[in-house]
């Protein structure tokens, strides 16, 4: 089970890398959010995947699953949610002001201070 998820997260990170290297701003943003999915899946795997166990710390329970990675992922998901929302707004504003969503054209804007 661990092997499958870790390979899956590898695939996600690889495709995210491909998307981030493209020139379209929207693709980069999608790539960044896929990257965070891959990373979250990896954190989940690091806590070892066990099914059917309760997340309690008690002397009588000998087999329990680790609740901490899930708590971490929950926090990380919320953060990446906010980041995706913000970067989409930034994309919109970028498109309106600079008139392009191609990163090639996004260099050499003169200083207009």
């Amino acid at each position: 089970m661990e092997l499958v998820t870790i390979i899956l997260s590898g695939i996600l990170i690889a495709s995210a890398t491909y998307l981030i290297l493209s020139k379209s701003v929207l693709r980069i943003i999608i790539g960044v959010s896929i990257l965070s999915h891959g990373v979250h899946l990896m954190i989940l795997t690091m806590g070892q995947l066990k099914r059917g166990n309760v997340p309690v710390l008690d002397d009588t329970v000998s087999s329990y699953s680790d609740p901490l990675p899930q708590a971490l992922i929950l926090t990380a998901i919320v953060i990446s949610f906010a980041l995706t929302a913000y970067s989409l707004v930034l994309l919109l504003r970028n498109y309106k002001e600079l008139g392009t969503d191609n990163t090639e054209d996004m260099k050499g804007v003169p200083h207009d201070d």
Partner: protein, 497 residues
């Protein structure tokens, strides 16, 4: 162990101030008042905390009284105390500076709340004792910084802001990857607990080296170490001057602090490899920064490349991880936060007054602004580390430590970099203040009393810091102990068990 409120105040206060300002609405004058009062209160509290920590040792607060390795703990040791004090001080002066420079529209659209939220995140990252919590605070100040870098929506800001956003999101994701590896090895997130677990660690060194490399990648991107500084010169020159001052003085230093903290606590088993990599990167950063500082005449760019040199010097100190190296690193870290903010505010005044970014277009300003000119001169000397200014003490200890550890070459590079810093900053000084301009400069009529108050105030603070370096030495010694003797940091866990 009781739940002490004092270490929480530097995190809570700016947060509450930010929320209050959101409720006030788009009214700049109350925003100004709230943020300036908060700044003053934070400086007072942080100063008291330094005294308190000096008398009683590190303050530890367990949030919601969850005992240490399980809940989140806030560890306010001397390192955190000094850094939080400097952050508050820089924030206060930059907020005052913003009154007359940031522009009415930005003030209306929640500039001050964003500054406050950024300070919340920075102070949190300095004081937290939990590595995942540090990630969360990193995200808090990064989100605020994304807003600050694009606030105002000028074209250059949008363009550079997007690059800054993508670079930082990617490196934050790698922070999570590093955390996941570390958690799978140690099964803990509390930094002190991880240190105790790793000091009895007999597993594979390869995985710890991997974690070290991921952490170097992440924090080097935040701090602007070679070769991951590529985003810094562009992004830091885009936003308005007070924002650059905050970024240049504080954000990169959080990365440096995170490197120092994680490398002293976690990666103690294979220092021959990890700390050598760090040293090499630091030296390359110094060289790259020197090349940049010599190449540009644009005043902002010169100072931005000087940030890189300073970061390289600090990391050289911390990569030695001995008594002298860490004391030097701490001195230089605090010194650099103050003096970089001061220099940015000074050249900000020149840019606002003349409307020109490039030092080559300017000249002869000493006639109109003798005080600013000589203050800039003092700030330049302080930056280069001429005694009695504080940069000297930091460099003295760092160079001493490098010689003691047999890194003669590193010590020579650090010494040579001081000369280049001095040359690059004096070049700006001579071009701007002496001689005659190539074409007559039209000075803009701006209100500048608060600009000058902040800029000259910070230079005075820096000079006082230099003159009182001897008096402050016990505090810095105490701060450095957390790095070269990490068990002094982690022994608060002993009382809990």
């Amino acid at each position: 162990m009781t739940t002490n409120i004092l270490p929480m105040l530097p995190i809570i206060l700016p947060f509450i101030a930010g929320v209050i300002m959101l409720f006030i609405g788009k009214r700049p004058i109350p925003h100004r008042m709230v943020s300036a009062v908060t700044g003053l209160m934070m400086v007072g509290i942080a100063a008291f905390n330094i005294y308190y920590v000096y008398k009683n040792g590190a303050m530890v607060t367990f949030i919601s009284n969850w005992s240490a390795p399980f809940g989140i703990s806030v560890v306010y040791d001397m390192v955190a105390a000094l850094l939080v004090f400097t952050t508050s001080l820089v924030m206060f002066f930059v907020v005052i500076y913003s009154f007359q420079s940031i522009g009415y529209e930005r003030e209306r659209y929640y500039y001050y709340p964003m500054v406050m939220f950024m300070i919340t995140g920075i102070n949190g990252a300095f004081t937290t004792g939990d590595i995942f919590n540090m990630f969360v605070f990193f995200e808090v100040f990064l989100l605020a910084s994304y807003v600050l870098i694009t606030l105002g929506s000028r074209k250059i800001q949008l363009q550079e802001g997007f690059k800054y956003l993508v670079v930082n999101i990617v490196s934050s994701n790698f922070f999570l990857v590093g955390l996941a590896y570390l958690y799978s090895v140690t099964g803990s997130l509390n930094m002190a607990d991880i240190h105790i677990k790793l000091s009895n660690y007999d597993g594979s060194l390869a995985i710890m080296t991997l974690v070290a490399v991921v952490f170097i990648f992440v924090f080097a991107t935040k701090a602007g170490l070679f070769p991951l500084y590529f985003w810094m010169p562009g992004s830091y020159s885009a936003p308005p001057m007070p924002v650059i001052a905050l970024f240049g003085a504080l954000l990169t230093k959080v990365g440096v602090y995170a490197i120092a903290r994680t490398f002293s606590l976690f990666f103690t088993s294979d220092t021959a490899y990890t700390h050598q990599v760090l040293l090499l990167l630091a030296l390359l950063t110094i060289v790259a920064g020197c090349i940049g500082a010599l190449a540009y005449t644009d005043m902002k760019k010169v100072i931005i490349y000087n940030i890189m040199i300073a970061i390289g010097v600090i990391i050289v100190g911390f990569s030695m991880m001995d008594y002298a190296g860490t004391i030097g690193g701490m001195y230089y870290l605090i010194h650099d936060m103050i003096i970089k903010a001061a220099l940015f505010l000074l050249i900000g005044f020149i840019i606002y007054r003349t409307g020109k970014n490039d030092a080559a277009d300017l000249g002869g300003l000493i006639k109109q602004h003798p005080v600013v000119g000589w203050t800039f001169f003092i700030a330049g000397l302080s930056l280069a580390g001429v005694p009695p200014f504080p940069g000297f003490f930091g460099k003295l200890y760092i160079v001493e430590s490098a010689f003691n550890n047999g890194h003669t070459f590193s010590a020579i590079i650090v010494l040579l970099s001081s000369l280049i810093v001095l040359y690059s900053i004096m070049k700006v000084f001579i071009k701007v203040f002496w001689g005659e301009p190539s074409e007559p400069i039209e000075l803009k009529d701006i209100k500048s009393d608060k600009l000058l108050f902040s800029a000259i105030g910070l230079v005075i603070v820096s000079t006082v810091f230099g003159l009182s370096a001897d008096f402050l030495f016990p505090a810095f010694e105490m701060a450095a102990e957390a790095f070269y003797n990490p068990s002094s940091y982690s022994n608060y866990l002993m009382g809990v068990e």
